[in-house]
């Protein structure tokens, strides 16, 4: 019996201390991780989808509250505005759509008139060589200058699910722009 209690206490203590240390490290690295993700994942995509701006869309990024989760915490969406002479004329934001293997993240550039500028895939776990072909320019270039919602393009043959995932992500992003037009522009 004494052994049993000792076992339980030791294991509990070790786990508790580990948990405490990890929460400290997590909080200390949260900001740099966010910065690194923006720099290495989002910034290249933002630069691809926006053109003709004279500001820095990454520095001027703003967060928009798009709802609350079940605990009441706000869900935020980061938008990257492209400005010319101080006026926002287009915006880049990320949408997500279900692909063949989990979510596909797509950075979508949308003009103030609702016209699609360009898209760039930021994250995906599609099958290499098959679904991953949706990241190629021959597919993503089809989205340029489209206006009619819902957005539809030709799928990559053999990668229908992945292609649909990208379209869903683009439509989600456009949906955000339409719903939160006032906050974004």
């Amino acid at each position: 019996m004494r052994d049993l209690i000792k076992m339980a206490i030791v294991l509990t203590l070790i786990s508790a201390v580990s948990g405490l240390i990890l929460s400290v490290v997590y909080n200390a690295t949260k900001k740099p991780i966010e910065y690194q993700t923006i720099k290495f994942v989002k910034e290249p995509a933002v630069k691809k989808v926006l053109t003709g701006y004279d500001n820095n869309p990454v520095l001027d990024r703003k967060k928009i509250k798009i709802g609350t989760d079940e605990k009441g915490n706000p869900i935020e969406l980061t938008v990257f505005p492209a400005k010319k002479a101080g006026k926002t004329f287009a915006v880049a934001l990320e949408g997500h759509g279900k692909g063949f293997n989990g979510l596909i993240g797509v950075m979508v550039g949308v003009g103030k008139d609702g016209k699609l500028l360009d898209i760039g895939i930021t994250s995906h776990s599609e099958t290499p060589g098959v679904g991953s072909r949706v990241t190629e320019l021959s597919f993503t270039d089809q989205f340029k200058s489209l206006t009619k919602a819902p957005i539809k393009v030709d799928a990559v043959s053999g990668a229908t699910y992945s292609s649909r995932g990208v379209m869903a992500a683009v439509n989600q992003a456009i949906g955000y722009v339409n719903t939160f037009r006032k906050e974004i522009f």
């Binding site: 076992m7 030791v10 294991l11 580990s18 240390i21 990890l22 490290v25 690295t29 740099p32 290495f40």
Partner: protein
């Protein structure tokens, strides 16, 4: 059982993964270039050193029935620390190593050293053992990675070293190439050891 021996044994005599054929999963998976090998090796070394120290410090407190669970909690904590720090400050490396960082938790070398060495020896000895084993592992990964990078891409540490018309063996960068590289290096090491033994015998 000198401190020096505990440190140096990991560098040649029982160098992982050649002599101590443990932890082959990251060895085969991430060694597509020399620099990846170093990154993975150093991450493993960090976890190994700290888990060894803490397991050794707690070895008299932890009841033997729950030792494996306790070791894993300790190891997992350090792995998460490495993962977060790498993500925050070495993002490019983090992206390449990806899933293999969290998998350090189940790397046999770490649990193996905790069980076989750190749970029976003092913290200083365990530190030496962890550092030696970790550096040995790093060197091994670097060598395998460099061989594969040299043959598979014609470069060393990302710099092209071969003439431009060199047609690389792309095969060496694929998973089977990892086995081939590991096998050749293992054979070479055995050859050297045999030669040394023969020389010592005379």
């Amino acid at each position: 059982m000198s401190l020096r021996y505990e440190f140096t044994k990991g560098l040649w005599e029982t160098i992982p993964p050649f002599r101590l054929v443990l932890g082959l999963c990251p060895v085969l998976a991430v060694t597509t270039s020399g620099i990846n090998g170093i990154g993975m090796g150093l991450a493993t070394t960090f976890v190994l050193v700290f888990s060894n120290i803490f397991v050794s410090l707690l070895r008299k407190v932890i009841p033997s029935q729950v030792r494996i669970a306790s070791f894993i909690v300790i190891i997992a904590s350090f792995v998460v620390i490495v993962e977060l720090v790498m993500q925050a400050y070495f993002f490019a490396l983090f992206k390449v190593l990806g899933i293999f960082i969290p998998l350090i938790v189940v790397n046999c070398i770490i649990l193996g050293r905790a069980e076989a060495f750190a749970s029976k020896n003092g913290p200083i000895m365990s530190l030496a053992d962890g550092l030696g084993m970790g550096l040995g592992f790093t060197i091994s990964l670097f060598v395998i990675g460099s061989v594969r990078e040299f043959l598979g891409a014609g470069s060393l540490l990302g710099i092209n070293v071969l003439w431009s018309s060199y047609e690389p063996f792309a095969f060496m960068l694929k998973p089977p190439g990892a086995f081939v590289a590991l096998g050749i290096l293992l054979a070479l090491m055995n050859l050297i050891s045999q030669f040394q033994a023969a020389k010592g015998g005379k």
